[in-house]
Amino acid sequence: MNVAKSAQIGEAAQPTPPALPQPRRTTRLIKGGLIGLLAAAAIALVIPSLISGQWPWGQPPEVANIQPVQALRNSGIPLEGWQLTDQEEVRISGKSWSAQQFNQGADSDQALVLLLRPQPWHTNLPEVEWVDLSGSQNWEIRHRQTLTIPAAETQDAVGGGSFRASFFRGANDQRTYAVLQWYAWPGGGSPSPGRWFLADQWHQLRHGDRLPWIAVSLWQPMAGRGDIQPLRDEMVAIAQEIQTTLNSTALLPAIQPQRN
């Protein structure tokens, strides 16, 4: 085999501008400084880890108080002004969701479907929830938009914050729905896993543990292949309520573990 060293990569660059050579004392000083800092890092991390046998990267960060989040799978959440007619745990594409059905009362045929997928374990990340849902329902998706929903007015300082949600019409041969979905986390939300990732990194740097997440998908049945705009305000109001409820119940212990 020819070992042809690439001409651009291997060559040393010409020193520009013509500079005085660095005095040996400075070189020694720099090397000494580097050695000192690296040694300090070694003492700070390597020695305690060798003694205890536990390395920080061997234990990935966990969600503080994950049980309330996981419990949502079996309980769902209440919605004000709507009657819960059914709640059960369903499996979609091999993943567990809490499926709830609401009615607005006996005399109205307004219905609502709320699907929640709380993260099953500390290490789970928001990934393909939306693809799973639209795949299992075999939806044709139209009029997709991203809404920025401000926090509800009654929000207190804890968990207050606007969030983003994806709004679209999903239709198959049997039914058509206006769908609003997002990943909810303490104090925010977004349909994009990348946004959760950023929020989680920031949370890890500040608190050292993981940011919990719950996938929320809200469906409102509608007449086939119509416009979803008339349904927007109502669904946004319900979404605000959902986010507030989640922030003050399941997601609350994650950011305030000291509160009882």
Binding site: N2, A13, P15
Partner: protein
């Protein structure tokens, strides 16, 4: 006896350099061991697996960096201001112990050493080994690009379904799902062949340097396009076979190709084909189009 005295002689000639190397080793050997253990035992996460080409890349990068040491010593000592600045960033990442930050501190600290000891020239000299280390450092980029892989998943499902149809298999394709005999196969993001694509591109990078394709942009771009095409074609074939096995209940064959050493066979075949592609490009593709035109004119 002679070897021992040469070693101690080198040690006494460059005590500070050896001390630096030793300290970097002390800091990062446990972390690197953690990565290697995760790659060999598949015990960390799917995202971590995307970087298993580090098993090849790190020794190669170390070999290259070591082979540059004479040129390195000839460079004048210089400290680039970025060096000490980034060192703080790198060490705090390392000390935080948090996943990506600790991982990425490794290439960062190595780069800092180059900048602080030999300045910009030193960094340029070692830029290729540093690049190899960077591209093999586990991070969460495979996770972040998942939402964007959907078109590729659909494409693979569609082509796999088409191929199966040509063989007379009763298959129905729905977005990223394939139905054969009412058995469902989902082309998930991790089945879209991204891991093999990353590994292939990385091995391609190593080959570009080793075989010397890097001097010609025509050859390099053709090689990269070839790798991507080969990777996608291979993955389509793999998904076709998996769907076939699952549809006709050849569960052992499915398990072999999907979970067991069938995957390794697939990877090995792909990498051998990439090696042949590199050789072929080196012998049959001119260094640039102008050379091609000159040859064409000459033959006329």
């Amino acid at each position: 006896m002679l070897k021992k005295s040469t070693f101690t002689a080198t040690l006494s000639r460059h005590p500070l350099d050896w001390a630096l190397l030793a300290l970097v080793g002390v800091l990062y050997a446990p972390l690197l061991w953690h990565w290697v253990d995760g790659w060999l035992n598949k015990s960390i996460s799917l995202q971590h697996e995307y970087f298993s080409h580090g098993l090849l890349g790190f020794p190669f990068a170390a070999y290259l960096a070591w082979s540059f040491r004479h040129k390195w010593q000839q460079l004048p000592d210089r400290c680039h201001w970025l060096g000490p600045l980034l060192l703080g960033l790198g060490l705090s990442g390392y000390l935080s112990g948090l996943g990506d930050w600790a991982n990425l501190s490794f290439p960062l600290v190595l780069a800092v050493l180059c900048l602080s000891l030999k300045g910009r020239a030193g960094f340029k000299l070692q830029s290729f080994p540093l690049l190899l280390v960077l591209f093999a450092t586990p991070n969460q980029i495979p996770y972040l690009i998942e939402p964007y892989v959907l078109p590729l998943q659909r494409f693979i499902a569609a082509v796999a379904g088409f191929i199966l149809l040509q063989f007379g298999v009763d298959v129905r394709v729905q977005q990223i799902y394939l139905f054969v005999n009412d058995q469902l196969v989902e082309v998930a993001p991790h089945c879209a062949g991204l891991k093999m694509l990353f590994t292939s591109l990385y091995v391609g990078l190593m080959l570009i340097y080793w075989v010397g394709l890097g001097t010609s942009r025509l050859r390099t771009s053709l090689f990269v396009v070839g790798i991507v095409g080969l990777s996608i074609a291979g993955n389509v074939l793999r998904n076709t076979m998996l769907t076939f096995f699952h549809g006709y209940q050849f569960n052992d064959a499915f398990h072999w190709l999907h979970d067991s050493w069938g995957g390794e066979v697939y990877s090995a075949i792909t990498l051998v084909l990439i090696l042949y592609l590199a050789r072929w490009i080196q012998s049959h593709v001119p260094a640039s189009l102008s050379a091609f035109e000159i040859r064409a004119n000459e033959s006329v």
